[in-house]
């Protein structure tokens, strides 16, 4: 049975309390390895790190406000051949959703994996986060915690304390910022002092946590959900209002340089070798001249629309809205908008919510029930 507990926070040191908790997981042998964001580059950014020695956790930030790589891809890499290691993975809600999809696609395993889900306050673009840190005065080690404090205040009073730089587009429209499926949840929403923990009673006993009813977090969560849902609906309405012909879709992608960064960053684009990096659709050069002759002019490269439409067909049903595609895009194409809007329409039509449950099969992998 899941029970609740509250980690005591001294002098507002949320990260300290969370680090101690994570260290306990390692020292008590509940996990042997911990995948967690650690500050690197003097705190200017964070990187997913596989930690074995708890001493390294002094730079850990489970509530990291920057997401350079989706840890779903990393957990896939760490578990695909069932290594049998006891892994604890500190993940944001969108990363967990993507991981659940990957498990259903046979690309990751949750065997011996403990998911430590964290409340997500939102994330900045990597370059914006570094700028924020650079602007701050004070000890390098404390800056990450201050970014977090500012975000918490901004969520509590959005009008009085706006964020210094806006969040990533995906985070601005995210409506699923608390972990759905996690073995252990670390929460910040609705907590005045202390970190919310939800875990199995057995685990709580092993960790020596005092089981205690946490304050009601729902009002704080609902408030944020409300404003995010509005932002989300607005993005959807705007995009849907625009899509009349193929020209409108091409309009969103007209400066694409076909670098494939979006597919590399997407946790759900799991193919080892992407179709588009093979020569399947690359004809002998002679063909291009023939096409140009037929049309009078031929836009090069020729596959922009095909590439994005195919990616939509392959991943939109499972799109978890992490927005890694747009963050990776050198041309900043509105990929989050495209994938989230089209994904939303598709998921609603097929009555499927990605990352909601491990039992709910991906529609493309199931045989629909039709009377013959």
């Amino acid at each position: 049975m899941k029970v609740e507990a509250v980690l005591k926070v001294e002098k507002g040191d949320i990260l300290g309390a969370s680090r101690d908790f994570l260290a306990k997981l390692l020292t008590q042998g509940l996990v042997d390895y911990l995948l967690v964001p650690l500050e690197i580059s003097h705190g200017r950014t964070l990187a997913q790190t596989l930690v074995q020695d708890p001493a390294y956790l002094d730079k850990a930030n489970p509530f990291s406000a920057v997401l350079p790589v989706s840890s779903a891809s990393i957990v896939s890499q760490l578990t695909i051949d069932h290594p049998g290691k006891k892994l604890g993975a500190v993940m944001k809600p969108c990363e967990i959703r993507a991981l659940v999809e990957l498990v259903k696609l046979g690309q990751a395993s949750l065997e011996n994996v403990t998911i430590i889900g964290t409340d997500c306050l939102g994330t900045y673009e990597v370059e914006d986060y570094a700028k924020l840190i650079d602007k701050m005065k004070g000890t390098a080690g404390k800056k990450g915690a201050r970014v977090l404090d500012d975000m918490r205040q901004s969520i509590a009073e959005p009008d009085a304390k706006p964020l210094p730089i806006s969040l990533r587009p995906a985070c601005r429209m995210c409506n699923s910022f608390t972990p759905l499926l996690a073995d252990i949840t670390l929460g910040l929403f609705g907590m005045q002092d202390g970190v919310f923990v939800s875990l199995e009673s057995e685990l709580a006993e092993k960790l020596g946590l005092e089981v205690k009813k946490a304050p009601d977090r729902q009002p704080a969560i609902d408030r944020l959900l409300d404003s995010r849902t509005k932002a989300r609906e607005q993005v959807f309405t705007e995009f849907r209002g625009k899509m009349e012909t193929i020209v409108d879709f091409a309009d969103c992608l007209d400066t694409c340089i076909m670098c494939y960064a979006c597919s590399s960053a997407c946790p759900l684009c799991y193919c080892r070798v992407c179709f588009f990096r093979t020569d399947t659709f690359e004809p002998e050069s002679e063909r291009y001249y023939r096409w140009a002759e037929r049309e009078g002019a031929l836009r090069m490269p020729t596959e922009i629309l095909l590439y994005h439409l195919t990616r939509l067909n392959h991943v939109a049903i499972s799109c978890c809205g992490c927005g890694m595609c747009e963050s990776a895009c050198p041309r900043k194409l509105p990929l989050t908008t495209i994938f989230q809007t089209v994904g939303d329409g598709l998921q609603k039509a097929l009555n499927y919510v990605p990352g909601r449950s491990l039992e709910e099969a991906i529609p493309l992998a199931t045989v629909p029930e039709v009377k013959v």
Binding site: F249, F275, G296, L306, L312, L333, L346, A349
Partner: protein
């Protein structure tokens, strides 16, 4: 100007629809010559990328022909095709591409008549629809507004001619 002749790319399953087309031929059923057939082992083996490639290369319609539900040579390939086409059509609709240009039909090996009727029907409907805008891909790119360039605002769009 000559009347618009729609081009159809047909992906037909080896066991039913392709044999149905074969039967249409041996039975001397007439159907318009607008269709280019590509034989597949199963309608379930079609990735949407091939349908999209056909549409984006200017095909006016794509026909996917498989066995009737329950008759698949590989148990449930046609059900998979059904799901993929459902997803594909949903996406096409959402991005402003006419989803009615993609047809999924079940045609048995013994239904040569049905095959010729299907093609006739499809050609008729595509003729009323007119050519696929992607027949002129250069024009599509000409019409875009280049609004994804940072610091450059989209120019107001020209009124669309109805």
């Amino acid at each position: 100007m000559a009347e618009f002749e729609p081009k159809i790319v047909a992906f037909l399953c080896n066991w039913c629809a392709y044999r149905g087309a074969d039967l249409a031929g041996t039975s001397r059923f007439h159907y318009p010559p607008n269709v280019r057939v590509i034989r597949l082992m199963c309608s379930g083996s079609i990735d949407p990328v091939y349908v999209l490639q056909a549409l984006l290369s200017g095909a006016d319609g794509v026909l996917i022909g498989g066995c009737h539900l329950g008759n698949c040579h590989y148990q449930d390939g046609n059900y998979k095709a059904m799901r993929r086409v459902e997803v594909l059509k949903n996406i096409l609709r959402q991005v402003g591409i006419d989803q009615e240009r993609v047809w999924l039909r079940w045609i048995d090996a013994s239904e040569g008549g049905l095959f010729s009727q299907t093609i006739q029907q499809m050609v008729d409907e595509l003729r009323t629809k007119g050519p696929n805008p992607m027949r002129k891909p250069w024009q599509v790119w000409q019409e875009t507004m280049g609004c994804q360039m940072p610091g450059i605002e989209a120019k107001p769009k020209k009124e669309k001619v109805a």
